[in-house]
Each structure stands twice: as structure tokens, then as C-alpha cells.
């Protein structure tokens, strides 16, 4: 009987035919539509950011695992996901070395230093992004306009602030239609703007059961409710749909907050986690110093995840 009890950290798997690697690669696949949309909207420089981010992440993990004589796990797809998510969190026209340094930091400090997959406390892609934001704010806040329709893939770019940045500066909501926000006709990070493409990947993940609705729904609902209540013209006047469709909320709620390793274990814990992320995101957006709060909110809740686990433990039948 004892050899059937396996004690391990997340990711935990139930079905025998699934492996961590298979799930990771399918998650990476589900991320591709958002990247393709980003490249289509912002031009070829976005493609370079994505390629550099992914390649640097994989090479960093390979080098570190060779140097420390550990098992080489680059084929399990988790470094690829980290590289993709980091690139998706960057503006389209950053210098070439930015995604490289970000990926190196994300893998080396965000993941490997803790002991590799399953041991990290924080989402590695967000660790990399926050490091880049604190180090080179000038490049991390220089966003470009979407390419005019019909231009095709090109390297041209015109700078433009994101809707959330304009909201933070002028307190006036940009005159964008919700449909425009949904399709991604706005300035922003590569992988966050096209909600449609993101949702394509989300539907796939939900259908296969690789993520559950608990974290994303509680996260997004909390942001919506909070921003509705604390609106600019007094209570219950907030534009909650604008807030849900802006910034990195959809990308963060579905692809980063749901990371198995850094989120709580139980469904109840997921709900608490999502609400916490939502509250922090909304507070930072409305009253904090930054226009967008998704990355900091998720990182802070990552730190709280073990605490949430302790209080939402599944009760064993027969004990009080």
C-alpha cells in the first residue's frame, strides 16, 4: 500500500495518460493565437520579441541544468511557456536585449534558483516582467499603435499610450468601442490586446480540463464588481466592461493566475485566490501608482497561496 502514496509538489496529475510535458505543450499551443494576433496587430518586431523570449528561456534552463548537473527538462515545455508569457507581457518595440535579459532572469531567479518546476513560489514570467519594469521603465512603458489595416506585417510603429495609461493620467476613458477593445485595436503588450485570440486558447484549455473556471471567473468578476462600485462619478458608476477588456486582465486571469505550481491546491482556495487577485488589481488600477496592476496582484497572491492552502484544506472525513 505504501508504494502507492506519492508525496510531491504541484503539478499533480490524476489521469495516467497525461504527463506534465503533454499538458505544458498543449498550454503553449493554446497561447499561440494570442501571439499571432499580436504580431498581426503590431508588426514583425513583436515576432522577434516572442522568438527571443522563448529561445532565451529554453537556453537559460538548459545551461543552468547542465551546470548544476540536474536532469535536463527543457523538453517539458514549461520554459517555452515562461518565455511566451514573458514576451506577451512586453511592448512590441522593445530593444532586442530586453526579452533576453527578462527570460534569463525569469528562468534563473524565478524558477531554477528555487529548485526548478514545482518548487517556485512566484510565477516566473511575472518575476521577469516585474524585474524588467523596475530596471528599464522607459522601455517597458513605450507602447505603439496598432498597424493601420491593410499595411500587413511590417516594422513601422507610432507610439501611443495604452487605454489604462490614459485613464490613469487624464481620468478620461479613451473613446474606444468595446468591440475594438475585444479585437485588440489598442496599444498594449503583445499578447494581451487581442481578447478574441486569447479566448480561443481559453476555450481549448477549459474543454480539455487543463484549467478550471474558478480562478479566472472569481478574478475577473471581482475586478468588474469593484471597478463598477468605485466609479469615477461616485458609487456604482464604473465602466466595468472597459476594465475587464483592458490591460492584461484576460491574459493574466486565464494563463498566469491559473499556473498549477503557484496557485492554491483546492477549488475553494482558487476562489479566494481569484478574489484576492481581483481586489489587488482593482485597487492598483484605481488608486495605485501604476496604470495596470495585474502582474503585481498575481505575484502578491502567489506569496499568499501557501497561507490560503492552509486555511482551505480539504477536511478528512471523520475528523472535526
Amino acid at each position: 500500500m505504501n508504494d502507492k502514496l506519492i508525496v510531491s509538489t504541484s503539478p499533480h496529475l490524476h489521469k495516467k495518460e497525461e504527463s506534465v510535458a503533454k499538458i505544458m505543450w498543449l498550454v503553449a499551443l493554446s497561447l499561440l493565437p494570442a501571439g499571432a494576433a499580436g504580431v498581426f496587430i503590431f508588426g514583425l518586431s513583436a515576432l522577434w520579441v516572442i522568438i527571443l523570449g522563448v529561445v532565451s528561456a529554453v537556453i537559460t534552463e538548459l545551461i543552468l541544468q547542465v551546470l548544476t548537473k540536474n536532469k535536463i527538462t527543457i523538453l517539458d515545455g514549461s520554459a517555452v511557456i515562461t518565455g511566451l508569457l514573458l514576451a506577451y507581457n512586453l511592448p512590441p518595440k522593445v530593444p532586442f536585449w530586453l526579452p533576453i535579459i527578462g527570460s534569463v532572469f525569469a528562468i534563473a531567479i524565478g524558477k531554477q534558483v528555487f529548485g526548478g518546476l514545482g518548487q517556485n513560489i512566484f510565477n516566473p514570467a511575472l518575476v521577469g516582467r516585474v524585474f524588467l519594469m523596475a530596471s528599464w521603465p522607459k522601455y517597458m512603458t513605450a507602447f505603439t499603435q496598432p498597424l493601420p489595416a491593410g499595411v500587413g506585417l511590417s516594422y513601422d510603429a507610432v507610439t501611443q499610450a495604452t487605454p489604462l495609461a490614459i485613464l490613469k493620467e487624464t481620468k478620461i476613458l479613451e473613446q474606444l468601442s468595446y468591440w475594438g477593445l475585444f479585437l485588440g485595436k489598442r496599444g498594449g503588450c503583445i499578447g494581451e490586446v487581442c481578447i478574441l485570440a486569447l479566448l480561443l486558447g481559453v476555450i481549448f484549455l477549459l474543454a480539455k480540463g487543463y484549467i478550471s473556471w474558478h480562478i479566472p471567473v472569481s478574478y475577473i468578476a471581482t475586478v468588474g464588481i469593484f471597478t463598477y462600485i468605485f466609479g469615477p462619478k461616485g458609487l456604482f458608476s464604473g465602466d466595468w466592461l472597459f476594465h475587464i477588456l483592458s490591460g492584461g486582465l484576460i491574459l493574466g486571469a486565464f494563463f498566469m493566475a491559473t499556473d498549477y505550481v503557484t496557485s492554491p491546491l483546492t477549488r475553494k482556495g482558487h476562489l479566494v485566490f481569484g478574489v484576492g487577485c481581483g481586489l489587488l488589481t482593482a485597487v492598483i488600477r484605481l488608486w495605485g501608482g501604476y496604470p495596470e496592476g495585474v502582474s503585481y496582484a498575481i505575484l502578491m497572491m502567489n506569496a499568499a497561496a501557501p497561507l490560503i492552502d492552509r486555511y482551505t484544506r480539504n477536511r478528512v472525513y471523520g475528523t472535526s
Binding site: P95, F131, A134, S135, W136, P137
Partner: protein, 197 residues
């Protein structure tokens, strides 16, 4: 003579106050933003260490054991006041840059720690060399950390730009960057220590 040299050398590598004993990390984190600050703090702390170690070793028989800490503090505070007034007179820019961390040398764990662990039990000559060794070790650690942080965080060394067009990572100059740099250096030195065994 050999013992004296050993007391001096241990403060530099084997019992380096920053990377082995992990003492005095608070001023290290705060002050290591630039090389000139780091060296200035290192010299000031070394002077206080040497002075307090000598005096405490001289009067160690006279101090009742139950009130030894306040007695050490009085001695250390005297030397820190000398240092502070000298700094204010001859290098006011350094004093302004170090700010409150000059008076805080009084409670620097290295100074109080060596007084308690060494000077109160050993001869004056041994305590002198221990003080010099610890002070030099602290200063070398500060030079290493400040050099890295000033170069990566501000792109300069001693206030001069080294590589034109180099984009420094601002976070390295901030407190979070200090913790990152010191943590990574500590890990690196631990690896070296393990390899040697």
C-alpha cells in the same frame, strides 16, 4: 607573530563579516549604491572597529559582566562620534551621502559582535589585528557589492560613465536590487566554499 597574521587574514575570507558571518548587512544594503559610498563606510567602520577593539581589550577586566553591553556601546559611540565629526569636517559630501548610516555604525553588528565575541576575551594585540582584519574584510565586501551595484544600476564607477550607450538596470540601485546582489554573491561564495571542501 603567526597568530596575529592569522587573526588578520581570517577577517578577510574565512570569517568575512558580510559573506560568512552575515553581520552588518543593513548598512551594507543601504550604503552600497556607489563605490565611493562603500569605501567611505568601510574606512569609517574599520576605524571604529580598531579603536573600540583596542579600548575594550584594555579595560575588559574592569567591566562588570552584567552591564557589559552598555559599556561597549559607550566606547563604540565615542569612536563613532570622532569619526562622524571628522567626516563632517573633512569630507562633508561623503557624510551627506552616507547620511544616517554614519551614526548607525554604533549599532553595526560587526563592531558590537567583535567586541562581545573577541575583544572582551583576548589580548590587546590580538584584538587590534582582529579589528583590522574584520574591517578590511568588510571594506572589501563593500567594494565588491558597491562596484557591482554602481555599474549595473547606474552604469558608472566612481561617478564616471564607463561604457557609452550602456543601459543600466535601475532596480539594481534600489533596495530590492541590493538584496538580489548580496543574495546571489552569498550563494556564489557558498558554492566556492563547498567546492573547496
Amino acid at each position: 607573530m603567526k597568530t596575529l597574521v592569522r587573526e588578520f587574514v581570517k577577517g578577510i575570507i574565512k570569517e568575512n563579516p558580510t559573506f560568512v558571518l552575515a553581520l552588518g548587512l543593513c548598512p551594507t544594503l543601504a550604503v552600497s549604491v556607489s563605490l565611493s559610498n562603500g569605501i567611505g563606510m568601510g574606512i569609517a567602520a574599520t576605524f571604529v572597529l580598531i579603536g573600540s577593539n583596542i579600548i575594550i581589550a584594555l579595560i575588559k577586566e574592569m567591566i562588570p559582566e552584567r552591564i557589559r553591553i552598555p559599556c561597549y556601546i559607550v566606547v563604540i559611540a565615542t569612536f563613532v562620534t570622532i569619526t562622524e565629526l571628522t567626516m563632517k569636517a573633512y569630507s562633508p559630501a561623503l557624510d551627506r551621502a552616507l547620511g544616517i548610516y554614519v551614526p548607525l555604525i554604533v549599532v553595526n553588528c560587526i563592531v558590537l559582535g567583535r567586541a562581545e565575541a573577541f575583544a572582551s576575551k583576548q589580548s590587546v594585540l590580538n584584538s587590534l589585528f582582529d579589528g583590522i582584519g574584520m574591517g578590511v574584510g568588510f571594506t572589501l565586501a563593500l567594494i565588491l557589492i558597491s562596484g557591482i551595484r554602481e555599474f549595473l544600476g547606474a552604469g558608472k564607477l566612481f561617478g564616471h560613465v564607463l561604457i557609452k550607450g550602456f543601459e543600466p538596470a535601475f532596480v539594481v540601485g534600489m533596495p530590492s536590487g541590493a538584496l538580489l546582489v548580496i543574495g546571489l554573491l552569498l550563494g556564489f561564495f557558498n558554492i566556492l566554499k563547498e567546492k573547496r571542501q
